[in-house]
């Protein structure tokens, strides 16, 4: 068994909470010790963490590699942006509601097409469908603003059904500080929800399908249906992340639907380790910092990130969390040996 919760182990609720609660406390304390810039970076990390967590329900637990998760992230983002631009809506909760609804509908339709396939065919189909959405966002500029995108000012937005707004002096600082906790709360809910899902009978069935589709079928598990539900949940996590990302970024452009962003979600997940529950979250946070510093320090930041990926795949195939838990396992077994002697 694996301290950090590898896919398919039997971690108890208590042990997982013993790990999660202190971590959550640390995350909650961080803004008290760092500046607004770092808080914002971490906030991005949490948002991408939600997307990667959703993505990994497909990759790590169902065995399906999607190259099109930018589509669902983008749907969540554009829905919020449209609600601002065309409906004048300012409530974050309504954005989330709208974003989830639209993402669910489109994900269900896309998923219906994709889950009949596996491996490279599944990957290519998800990629192709995401490119369709990207083309729409890019070409229908009179609706979407094209490459100029849609601006969403945090000043026009409220949290908690209008209880919290960001007008007046110092509003930017206030927004960064408050919005971080808003995201953190939703992040915690998403992590808890996903944890339950992957440990439910449904989650076990997904892992069974991943390991052996034929046998799963001969246990009476309807493979397509389970894949479709996993796809839907996965897309909705990405959609929620997309909506949460909008006020943080302040601008929605077609880049967020474009395939390189799907690649970044894959990158985050592999970086953290797709064979563990926490891997994608760790990967998303680390990736976001890596990227921010790479962009700030060199014009060739893509090359720097590419290099990291190459090293990663060769040296740490199980990702950061996989490597850490192996290390923890070594330390523990060593401790046991010393106790025994």
């Amino acid at each position: 068994m694996n301290l950090l919760g590898s896919a398919g182990d039997g971690l108890s609720v208590k042990r997982s909470l013993a790990l999660a609660v202190p971590l959550l406390a640390v995350l909650a304390a961080v803004p008290q010790f760092v500046d607004a810039y770092l808080t914002q970076l971490l906030n991005y990390g949490l948002v991408f963490g939600i997307a990667a967590l959703g993505f990994n329900l497909l990759l790590g637990y169902t065995g399906l590699l999607s190259f099109g998760h930018s589509a669902y992230f983008g749907l969540g983002a554009y829905t919020a942006a449209f609600m601002v631009k065309y409906l004048g809506v300012g409530s974050m909760e309504l954005y989330i509601l709208g974003g989830l609804t639209v993402t669910a509908l489109v994900t269900a339709a896309f998923g219906y097409v994709c889950v009949g396939y596996t491996r490279i065919f599944f990957g290519i189909l998800t990629l192709a469908l995401s490119q369709v959405l990207w083309t729409l966002a890019y070409k229908f500029f009179w609706v979407t603003g094209g490459t100029d995108g849609i601006r969403v000012a945090f000043g026009k937005m409220t949290l908690l059904a209008g209880l919290v707004d960001f007008t007046g002096p110092g509003s930017y600082q206030r927004f960064i500080g408050t919005y971080y906790y808003y995201t953190l709360a939703l992040f915690a809910c998403c992590v808890a929800l996903m944890w339950v899902i992957v440990h439910s009978p449904f989650g076990k069935a997904l892992q069974a399908i991943r390991d052996n589709e034929t046998r799963a079928r001969f246990l009476g598990i309807g493979v397509r249906k389970y894949r479709l539900i996993a796809f839907l949940i996965s897309g909705m996590f990405a959609g929620l992340a997309g909506t949460l990302w909008v006020p943080l970024n302040g601008l929605v452009t077609p880049d967020i639907v474009y395939w390189p962003f799907s690649g970044e979600i894959v990158f985050m997940t592999v970086l953290g380790g797709f064979r563990s529950f926490t891997g994608p979250i760790v990967g998303a946070v680390v990736f976001n910092f890596l990227k921010a510093y790479a962009v700030a320090s060199t014009a060739y930041w893509q090359a720097a990130l590419g290099l990291v990926l190459v090293i990663l795949v060769m040296a740490l195939p199980t990702g950061i969390v996989g490597a850490l838990s192996r290390l923890a396992g070594l330390v523990r077994s060593r401790g046991r040996r010393e106790d025994g002697s």
Binding site: M1, A7, G8, D9, G10, S12, V13, V196, I197, H199, S200, P201, F202, G203, K204, A205, Q207, A208, R210, D211, N212, T214, R215, A216, R217, F218, L219, G220, I221, G222, Y226, I229
Partner: protein, 251 residues
């Protein structure tokens, strides 16, 4: 009493007559062995009955109900389960989860997303009971890929058995294990199956095993049934001796 019956069941692969108008019956409660050399059609016959393959023609009747074109799910609900010749497990799941999943599926609980699987006490008890019966209790938390070959074969049977079938097909449950392990595996399987009142059809090559454990033996050759009888009758059958056991026919 007849539990399952096939009537002129046929499956050809091109020119190969894998199953050629076979009339095959299984009586309730028996432990039946299906023997024959490689390519005799044993696995194809089981594949047809378990809905892994569709027949070209003929009928499959379970309790006199036609299930020839019933889906895998329908057959499972009617009580037909199977294991596979090449071990077919969920390798990254624990031994416990492999069995628990069968029970969740049988109980229609696998679409439950909001309950932690390990907290279902009924399923937990039953899975632990099945593991104990198959002698796998100590390996409860080991990933299936970490089991020894003999344990994997037993787990493969346990996964099918946990579906609580009325009719269980086991495709070479002792292939790929040592002679010593073979006896132990067959002892376990036959005692569990008999204790659970499950009708079992076992495909097996090892004739010592077959003669020792079977109530009845059906020998196949080139897609057809060559002989059908008790172990004693089959042992004395000259056609079986020549075509299945590879012995020269004696008077």
């Amino acid at each position: 009493m007849t539990l399952l019956k096939t009537v002129k069941l046929r499956k050809y692969f091109g020119d190969t007559r894998a199953v050629d108008d076979v009339d095959f019956t299984v009586a309730k409660g028996e432990f039946l062995s299906l023997v024959g050399s490689n390519g005799a059609g044993k696995t194809t016959l089981v594949n047809l009955i378990s809905a892994f393959l569709r027949p070209d023609s003929g009928q499959i009747l379970l309790d006199d109900k036609d299930i020839t074109y019933a889906s895998v799910d329908e057959r499972l609900r009617a009580g037909i389960a199977r294991s596979f010749q090449l071990v077919n497990l969920f390798d990254d799941l624990s031994t416990f989860d492999n069995v628990a999943l069968s029970i969740f599926s049988r109980e229609g609980k696998t679409l439950n997303l909001m309950r932690i699987a390990d907290h279902d006490q009924d399923v937990r008890r039953e899975a632990e009971d099945v593991l104990a019966q198959f002698g796998l209790a100590a390996k409860r938390n080991v990933a299936a890929k970490g089991l020894a070959q003999g344990e994997r074969k037993l787990l493969d049977v346990a996964v099918a058995y946990a579906l609580k079938p009325r009719l269980l097909f086991l495709d070479e449950p002792t292939s790929g294990v040592s002679t010593r392990d073979k006896a132990q595996i067959m002892d376990t399987i036959s005692s569990v199956v008999r204790a659970g009142n499950v009708t079992a059809v076992v495909i097996e090559h090892d004739m010592d095993v077959v003669f020792k454990y079977s109530d009845r033996i059906v020998a196949m050759h080139q897609g057809a049934i060559l002989a059908d009888g008790t172990p004693d009758e089959i042992r004395r059958d000259p056609a079986v001796a020549a075509n299945v056991l590879g012995l020269p026919a004696t008077g």
